[in-house]
């Protein structure tokens, strides 16, 4: 039998975020503010994936996320899975799900929306979680997946 090899080494305690589409890696880093983290982090991208073709993976030592933080990732990659590791053992697995409402992350697609002109954090109501439909709290226009752009 062929020996399996880990492309990115294991962590002792922390969180593994797997099945991130490769082109979404940097957005996930930004959404979770990982760029400011002081803990050990491993990033791998363009790794082979049966499900996604190419995927990215993040391993963060000593970091455990709140449900609200995890759910924010669902906007960019609903396919992601989070594995919680304690003492090299998997203790929990979690899947992000879109919240009913959220702030920031995404821009309102309407060029005439006040959030694109003043220093205001956009807020959205999630109308459809499958086909991403986000209604702007301010201008009430609906941003869909094809018009999605990130802050």
């Amino acid at each position: 039998m062929k020996k399996k090899e880990l492309v990115v080494s294991a962590i002792q305690n922390g969180t593994v975020i797997d099945h991130i589409p490769s082109d979404k890696l940097f957005q996930v880093i930004k959404i979770l503010n990982l760029q400011d983290g002081k803990d050990q982090m491993l990033f791998g991208t363009n790794l082979e994936s049966q499900k996604l073709g190419k995927k990215a993976i993040i391993k963060i030592q000593n970091r455990f996320f709140e449900t609200s933080e995890i759910n924010k990732i669902a906007i960019v990659c609903p396919t992601a899975t989070l594995t919680i590791i304690k003492d090299y053992e998997v203790v929990d697995k979690r899947i992000p799900s879109l919240p009913d409402e959220f702030e920031g992350i995404v821009k309102c697609y309407n060029p005439k929306c006040i959030t694109n002109h003043e220093n205001v954090t956009p807020k959205f109501k999630v109308l459809d979680k499958q086909e991403i439909k986000l209604q702007c709290h301010y201008c009430q226009r609906i941003t869909k997946e094809e018009t999605l752009s990130f802050l």
Binding site: C108, N110, K112, C113, I114, T115, H117, E118, N119, V120, C136, H137, Y138, C139, Q140, R141, I142
Partner: protein, 304 residues
């Protein structure tokens, strides 16, 4: 019903009972327009883009209640011209007035203003988004001419895609078992997000491309202007601007109770030969705007 300090940003902010309350109050102002109940109060009218009807009718309403009016009618006269943020302008004006009435070309500004203001805010139009006081005066005019808001056939004509007054009126009339007759050029049909409200209530709607197909079925014929400023491409505007025009000859076989409404200003979509006809109600409709705005100011300031 206590509506003191309630913002009015979108027509969906108020319940059916609250609209009815405002319409009932407006009726009392129609009977007795001058009531000095707001003496000592200050109403700020902040118009970041030009408007004749809405601003003057708000100012007239405030004056008839005995309130003083401060404000501006052009953003170049405000400190936003110096680069001040909208939020800062609103916070400052909150210190000077008991109520803010605002219009702004950008969408969502009134909602933002209501979140930073320490006094109530009435949206007098935010771009193509909402214009709830126009909707309230439309409801008032419909109820006044038909004696009821329930079970009516309403034909809406013109720019149903971008026309904010149409969107608000559809949403509001969905409370009253309305049948909608939607007349527009193919490219200006009512958006699916607005039709969603009709479908949610299981109401009927029909779509047409000419006024002739709908006019005889209507209790109310709600005409709108195809607005050039809502088009990104001027050629698209030129293609459709003349497609929905009402003239006197179309009124021959209409229902006896039928009235023509229009939020004004009109350009050419209602021929002037309709003006002397008994169905023409658009100028009285504008008059009703003052009573409705008196009612809103009085209710929001907690005076009625």
């Amino acid at each position: 019903m206590n509506m003191k300090n309630r913002n009015l940003i979108s027509i969906t902010d108020y319940s059916k009972e609250e609209y009815i309350h405002i319409l009932d109050l407006a009726e009392t102002f129609e009977k007795e327009p001058v009531q000095n109940i707001a003496q000592g109060k200050v109403v700020a009218t902040l118009f970041f883009e030009p408007s004749t009807r809405t601003r003057l009718s708000f100012e007239s309403a405030a004056n008839r209640l005995g309130a003083k009016v401060i404000g501006f009618s052009d953003a170049s006269n405000s400190s936003t011209a110096k680069g001040e943020s909208l939020a800062d302008t609103i916070r400052t004006v909150s210190c000077y007035a008991d109520l803010i009435v605002m219009r702004h070309p950008l969408e969502g500004t009134a909602r933002l203003a209501s979140e930073v203001a320490t006094v109530p805010v009435i949206n007098a139009g935010d771009g193509a988004n909402q214009h709830p006081t126009q909707c309230m005066l439309d409801l008032y005019s419909i109820r006044k001419t038909q004696g009821t808001l329930d079970n009516l056939n309403i034909a809406m004509v013109g720019d149903l895609k971008y026309g904010r007054t149409v969107h608000s009126l559809v949403e509001a009339m969905c409370h009253f078992n309305t049948t909608f007759h939607l007349v527009s050029p193919e490219s200006l049909k009512l958006p699916s997000t607005v039709k969603m409200h009709i479908k949610e209530k299981n109401l009927k709607y029909y779509q047409y491309t000419t006024i002739a197909e709908a006019v005889d079925k209507a209790d109310i014929l709600y005409m709108t202007r195809v607005q050039r400023e809502r088009f990104l491409d001027i050629q698209d505007y030129e293609k459709v601007k003349n497609s929905c025009i009402l003239d006197k000859s179309m009124l021959e076989h209409v229902k006896p109770n039928m009235k023509v409404l229009h939020p004004l200003p009109r350009v050419n979509e209602i021929n002037t030969d309709v003006d002397p006809m008994p169905q023409a109600y658009y100028f009285q409709q504008a008059q009703n705007g003052v009573y409705v705005r008196q009612a809103l100011i009085a209710a929001i300031l907690g005076l009625k």
